[in-house]
Structure formats: structure tokens, C-alpha cells
């Protein structure tokens, strides 16, 4: 596969690995946060950590839209499917995420609710067309990458005059979340968590461009390198971050130039701006209320807004007691710091969202990284 295989080549990985080993300053640590779950996944799946020097540490961030969705919104979706007899369509990722009382969309589907997995918003539109007598709700989640396809679907529904289609919008914005992490006291306080640099999102940036990160690099004096999702991209970006840190720079650099430009995808951005507007604030699991961090559907498209068509109450639901997802999502704790990890909470029986999505930090640790625990524990106690 072109543009995939060559970015996974072992011979090149060895080269970049040697370069990193040569260039790191043995006397310091490099704490590099990958905001995106895609990077987390690549790091674990390909075993990238093995190719890095010991003093380069990956800190897993909140970049998985499934993990950051608050329990209350999942409860809303469950209510919609159960009480309003709608056909609830959503991406496969959402089906197993537990809401309150350990219910999930998959469980209520088993109980008879009409929940359908779709691969694309186009599938959801088709379901609406095929079922004119039923209300079809698309439970929309995702960052800037996944928002434009939702915008297209809403515009298409309007153009076609689809009367039974609406979107339960949970689209959130990446820059607001990064800013929130950088501003949180734990991260600012010297001595607790240090994040020395950031891997910038790949596909989010392909839509919004590299420009939005310029503010953080400047304001928080941290280097940002926009990194592709293949393992070589991650390693090369780590090298670029290490170089910046060694030189005392904090610029926005772009490793993923084959897709990301400074301005991003103008057409997609214009479509999103046409259909959506900012919410004043939105709850993120782990981060709490984050100002201007999510989108809602503009009133011109109110007919396609589930929150206008149905009663969707604000639900205050709390996470399972003992679940450290909030701290993990901010990079303050590691999955192994959670008492429930691997005992009560496993991917078969997830307690928190970090264990559900295969990109969640807990699931990734459990699935791919557990055998490192002994080594890590030894290192920590040393």
C-alpha cells in the first residue's frame, strides 16, 4: 500500500532510532505528549518505545473523542434510543462505551433498542431515506476530522428535504483541549508533570492546518511537531522535538507535510462554519467544562438538530469511583496508577472510557504494553 508501507519500514526505523540515540542529551528527560490516540495506538502497536532511548517518555493525551465524551451524553443517546423509539446510528467506536449503570448502546441494542452501526454519515442518510416512517438520529462524535462529514450530511439532508433525520452533535475542538491541558495547574506546576513538547494531531491538522498551534508554541513555550500516524512519522517527529528542545526552540514544525498545510482544508472548514457554531462551553471527560471547546448546529439548520427536536436534558453523571480516567486524560497519571486497572477494569468489562476505545490509554496499555510493566515499575522505584 503506497504511503503506508514505506512509512513502516524497519530499515528506516533503525536509521531514525540511531539518529535519536545520537542526538539526545543523556543528562535530561524528554516528556513528549502525543495528544492523539492515533499516535498512542501506533506507539504501542509497532513497539516504538523499544526503539527510543530510555530518557524519552511518551505521555498519552486525551486525543480520543470516545474517551473524552462525558457519561451524561452517552446517557442522552441511550435515552433517545430507548424512550423516543428512534433509530440511533453511530460509529462502531461508541457502541461499547459504558454510560451510567454500566449500560451501553450495545447492551440496550440487545434489549431491543434500534441501534445501528454506520461506517459513514452517508450510511445514516440512507437509513433515513429507507425508513421514512421512523426518526433517525445520528449520534455524532469526533474531532475536527470527523466534523466535516457530519456537515455534509446535514446539508445533504436539507437539500433532499429529509424530514426524519437529525444529528445529536458532540463534535469537539482540539486546540481548546490542548490549551486546557497546558493551563491546568498540575501541568504548570513545576515538579509534578512536565510536558516538554507535543506531537500535533495528524488528521485533525489536515483539516484545521498547522496555524492554530502557533499560539500554544508561543504562549506556553513548548515545541509542537505535527506528526503523521505511521510509526516512522512518530519517530521522526520525536527527533524533531528533541532537536528543538536541545536548541531551546519552541516552534511549530510539520513532519506530516504530505497531508497537512498551514491553512488546512479550506473547503471543509467553510462547510463546518456554515453548519456549526461554537458552544460556550462543553464538558470533557477528564478535563471538565472547557470553554468554547465544542460545536452545535446553527439555528438555520435547527430542523436537523436532535437537541432541538427532542428533549435532551443535561445529565450530570459521574464516573465510576476510583476510575482515574480524568487524571490519565490530562497525562498526570498512568493507567497502572489506577487501582482498578487490570483487576476490576479490563477491556471485557470497562469501568472508564480509557479502557473502551482501543486508542484509550488504559486499553492500549492493557492490550499492548502490559509486559513492560515490570520493567517500568523497577525503573520508577529506582
Amino acid at each position: 500500500m503506497k504511503y503506508v508501507d514505506e512509512f513502516r519500514r524497519q530499515d528506516l526505523a533503525k536509521k531514525v532510532s540511531r539518529a535519536i540515540h545520537n542526538e539526545v542529551d543523556r543528562g535530561r528527560r524528554y516528556n513528549l505528549m502525543e495528544f492523539c490516540g492515533g499516535h498512542t495506538h501506533a506507539i504501542f502497536r509497532y513497539g516504538v518505545q523499544d526503539l527510543m532511548p530510555d530518557n524519552v517518555r511518551f505521555v498519552h493525551g486525551p486525543g480520543c473523542p470516545v474517551c473524552v465524551l462525558p457519561v451524561g451524553r452517552i446517557d442522552n443517546a441511550i435515552q433517545l434510543a430507548q424512550q423516543h423509539d428512534v433509530i440511533l446510528c453511530t460509529y462502531g467506536d461508541m457502541l461499547r462505551v459504558p454510560g451510567s449503570g454500566r449500560k451501553s448502546l450495545l447492551k440496550i441494542k440487545a434489549e431491543g433498542a434500534d441501534v445501528r452501526m454506520v461506517y459513514s454519515t452517508q450510511d445514516a442518510l440512507k437509513i433515513a431515506r429507507d425508513n421514512p416512517g421512523r426518526e433517525v438520529v445520528f449520534f455524532a462524535i469526533g474531532f475536527e476530522t470527523t466534523t466535516p462529514p457530519t456537515a455534509v450530511a446535514i446539508r445533504q439532508a436539507q437539500a433532499e428535504g429529509l424530514k426524519n433525520f437529525s444529528v445529536f452533535c458532540n463534535h469537539v475542538l482540539t486546540p481548546a483541549a490542548i490549551q486546557n491541558i497546558l493551563e491546568s495547574p498540575e501541568v504548570r506546576e513545576i515538579g509534578s508533570v512536565l510536558i516538554d513538547g507535543f506531537f500535533g494531531p495528524s488528521h485533525v491538522s489536515s483539516v484545521i492546518g498547522s496555524q492554530p498551534y502557533e499560539f500554544f508554541a508561543e504562549e506556553f513555550q513548548r515545541p509542537v511537531v505535527i506528526a503523521g500516524f505511521e510509526p516512522l512519522d512518530v519517530m521522526q517527529s520525536a527527533l524533531m522535538l528533541i532537536r528543538q528542545l536541545n536548541e531551546g526552540r519552541h516552534d511549530v514544525e510539520n513532519e506530516y507535510t504530505r497531508v497537512v498545510s498551514r491553512d488546512g482544508n479550506r473547503k471543509a472548514k467553510a462547510l463546518v462554519a456554515e453548519v456549526f457554531e461554537l458552544r460556550r462551553s462543553f464538558e470533557w471527560r477528564g478535563l471538565g467544562l472547557v470553554p468554547y471547546s465544542a460545536l452545535r448546529i446553527k439555528s438555520a439548520y435547527a430542523g436537523f438538530d436532535t437537541e432541538k427536536r427532542f428533549d435532551v436534558p443535561a445529565i450530570q453523571a459521574s464516573d465510576v469511583k476510583g476510575c482515574e480516567c480524568p487524571s490519565i486524560l490530562r497525562g498526570v497519571k498512568k493507567p497502572t496508577d489506577c487501582k482498578l486497572f487490570g483487576t476490576v477494569c479490563t477491556p471485557e468489562n470497562p469501568m472508564g472510557s480509557c479502557m473502551v476505545s482501543s486508542e484509550g490509554a488504559c486499553a492500549a496499555y492493557w492490550t499492548y504494553g502490559r509486559f513492560r510493566d515490570q520493567a517500568t515499575a523497577r525503573e520508577a522505584s529506582a
Binding site: R9, F44, L51, P347, S358
Partner: protein
């Protein structure tokens, strides 16, 4: 028996008829269905005796018995259908003990309204699979459930077979140092099924690998009677099956990603859907664990069989108190290969 023609004045309307409740009621309609469809196609002496059971002599040795229920959507998929699958699946379960399968039975649960034409297609395919395998379906059962209470057709098959003397294959016999072999490319069946599911439409030339492996097993057992473990990596894929074996034997495993055969179309489809080929189902592959000294000989025997042409040694059994299956990645790092959790759902992130 010239009475037969008089018993059923009209032949079954296979072209446009459907299953109704009478086909499971024990009455004349059921007898006709059995005679004109099942007996006609499965055709063998034992079945023709029309008893509620089949009686046969068995050769000396250890008898193996295995049963498998088959539910699949869609019923017809590239490279097979529920009929051939239900024969292969059970034959393989019997064969994984190193046994030579002797006879099969089949139980059909049909949903009211199921087209007879589809049923005939399934029965013909099943009969052909049994014939190719040389293992007859000698007894069976049919039930009909009301519309909405089944998914068209469910088939349960049971198989019996005989294990040759001196063969002792079991999931708890993997020992550190043993070699791990796989008989060919992984993930073909699961991807073929997904490609034909309505809401995931993508086009590929991949066909299910559904096949009966007992002849391959027979030549393997003949070459190396002391094979330690055999198992077919069906649901949960290669990863889950290796974890089962590691747990059963109390050992760990070390795999080499680059050695595991995966077809380009399977990797491409998995990339597209965010899935991992290691967790995708197979229906015509086996995993073999044997002493290191036997590995090359077995590999040669496997490769000589068309069903094992792409066989490969993919790793070794190691000592590990945690029972982890680890893998050296093609990229040069290492990772754990865990059990499958939940269902493999296509993901966006």
C-alpha cells in the same frame, strides 16, 4: 418402494416455495422435505434407511466427537455458504485431535418463510462438501421456528472420528522451545464475510478460506505422530487461539510479525476498517505446535498440500509465568498480542 410417489402427490415447489410450520411438524410435509431435499442430496446408505439414528461399526482406537452450531450473516458469501461452512467447521474440529473423521450429523433450524430455493442451495453445497471430504451426513433433524424467531437458517453439525494409535494432540502440550506453525494466510474468511455485509460495502477479490483440513492433518500426523497441539483459529483469530493454547499449556509465546502470512487484500481491508488481521476469523487454517526438531519436516509436509501451500513457522513457545503472547513487530519493536475483546467492530478512531 413404489409407494413413495403416491405419498407426495406433488413435488416440493423448490423454485418459489417457502418453509412453513408444517415442515417441522412431524407430518407428511416434513417427511417430504426430508426425502426430496435432504435424503436426495446427502444420499448415502445409512441415511436411506430412514431411521431416527444411524448405526455403524467403528474401527478400534480412540473415538473423537465434536459439535458446532453455525449461525452466519450473510448465509452466502464469497468462497462459501453456511452449508459448506457447517461441514468444514465440524470436520476441522474433529481433525484437530489428529483424528480421521468418519461420519457427520446435521440439525437444521429453519425460520418460517425461508425460501426453499435457498435451502436447496445450502443443502447441495453441504452435500458437495461432505462428498469432497469423503465423510457422509448419516443422520439429521429439522425444526421450524416462527418468522422472526430465527435468522433464516441455523445448522448444527456433529462429527465423529478415530484417532490413530500413538497420536496425543492436546492444547496443554505446548512446551518452551516448541515451534509454532500456521498453515497459510490469516484473516481471509472474516474479511470475505465483512465485504459482503450490507453496511460495510467494499469490493475485494478475497474469498473465504473455508475448507476441510482433515486430509492435511492426516499427512501431518503420518509424518510426525508426536504433534503437540493443533487448533483451527476460527473466531477471535490467530491471536485469540494462541492465547488459549498459552493459557492451557502454562507457557508464553514469541511471534515474528513478518513471518505471519497475510494477503494484501486482507491487510488493506483491515487498514480501512481499523481492524487487526490477527483477530480476524479463519475457517480453513490450522495452528500447529511441535518439537523444534520436527518443525521443518512438518513444514515440508504442509507445503506439499494445497491447503498448506503457504504454511510458515511464525514463532516459538517460551517460558512465561504471565502466559503472554508477544510479537516482534515488522517495525522492529515488540508488543503483546492479547485476547480479542468484545466483537471486532470497525472503528473511526
Amino acid at each position: 418402494m413404489s409407494v413413495k410417489a403416491k405419498r407426495f402427490p406433488q413435488r416440493l415447489n423448490i423454485r418459489s416455495g417457502t418453509i412453513d410450520m408444517t415442515h417441522g411438524s412431524g407430518g407428511r410435509a416434513m417427511a417430504q422435505l426430508i426425502e426430496e431435499l435432504f435424503v436426495t442430496h446427502f444420499d448415502n446408505d445409512l441415511l436411506r434407511q430412514a431411521n431416527d439414528q444411524a448405526a455403524f461399526d467403528v474401527p478400534a482406537g480412540r473415538l473423537v466427537m465434536s459439535t458446532d452450531g453455525h449461525v452466519i450473516s450473510p448465509l452466502f458469501f464469497p468462497g462459501g455458504d453456511i452449508g459448506s461452512l457447517s461441514v468444514h467447521g465440524t470436520l476441522n474440529d474433529v481433525a484437530m485431535a489428529g483424528a480421521r473423521p468418519l461420519y457427520l450429523s446435521s440439525g437444521f433450524i429453519l425460520e418460517e418463510g425461508f425460501p426453499l430455493a435457498d435451502l436447496e442451495r445450502i443443502v447441495i453445497s453441504m452435500a458437495a462438501a461432505a462428498k469432497r471430504a469423503g465423510v457422509p451426513v448419516v443422520t439429521g433433524d429439522t425444526k421450524v421456528v416462527e418468522r422472526g424467531k430465527g435468522d433464516g437458517v441455523f445448522i448444527t453439525t456433529t462429527g465423529v472420528g478415530i484417532v490413530p494409535k500413538g497420536v496425543n494432540i492436546s492444547g496443554d502440550r505446548a512446551r518452551p522451545g516448541d515451534a509454532i506453525l500456521v498453515s497459510g494466510s490469516i484473516g481471509d474468511h472474516g474479511v470475505a464475510i465483512m465485504s459482503s455485509r450490507e453496511n460495510l460495502t467494499f469490493e475485494t477479490t478475497i474469498e473465504s478460506d473455508s475448507a476441510a483440513l482433515h486430509k492435511l492433518v492426516a499427512s501431518m500426523v503420518e509424518a510426525v505422530p508426536d504433534i503437540h497441539c493443533l487448533r483451527d483459529p476460527t473466531r477471535g483469530g490467530l491471536a485469540t487461539t494462541l492465547n488459549e493454547l498459552a493459557l492451557q499449556s502454562g507457557v508464553g509465546m514469541q511471534l515474528t510479525e513478518d513471518a505471519i502470512p497475510v494477503r494484501p487484500a486482507v491487510s488493506a481491508a483491515c487498514e480501512l476498517l481499523g481492524l487487526d488481521p490477527l483477530y480476524i476469523a479463519n475457517e480453513g487454517k490450522l495452528i500447529c505446535i511441535c518439537a523444534p526438531a520436527d518443525a521443518q519436516r512438518l513444514l515440508a509436509v504442509m507445503r506439499a498440500d494445497p491447503l498448506g501451500a503457504e504454511a510458515a513457522i511464525i514463532g516459538e513457545v517460551i517460558e512465561d509465568a504471565h502466559g503472554f503472547v508477544r510479537m516482534q513487530t515488522g517495525f522492529g519493536g515488540s508488543r503483546v498480542v492479547d485476547w480479542l475483546t468484545g466483537e471486532q467492530l470497525p472503528r473511526i478512531c
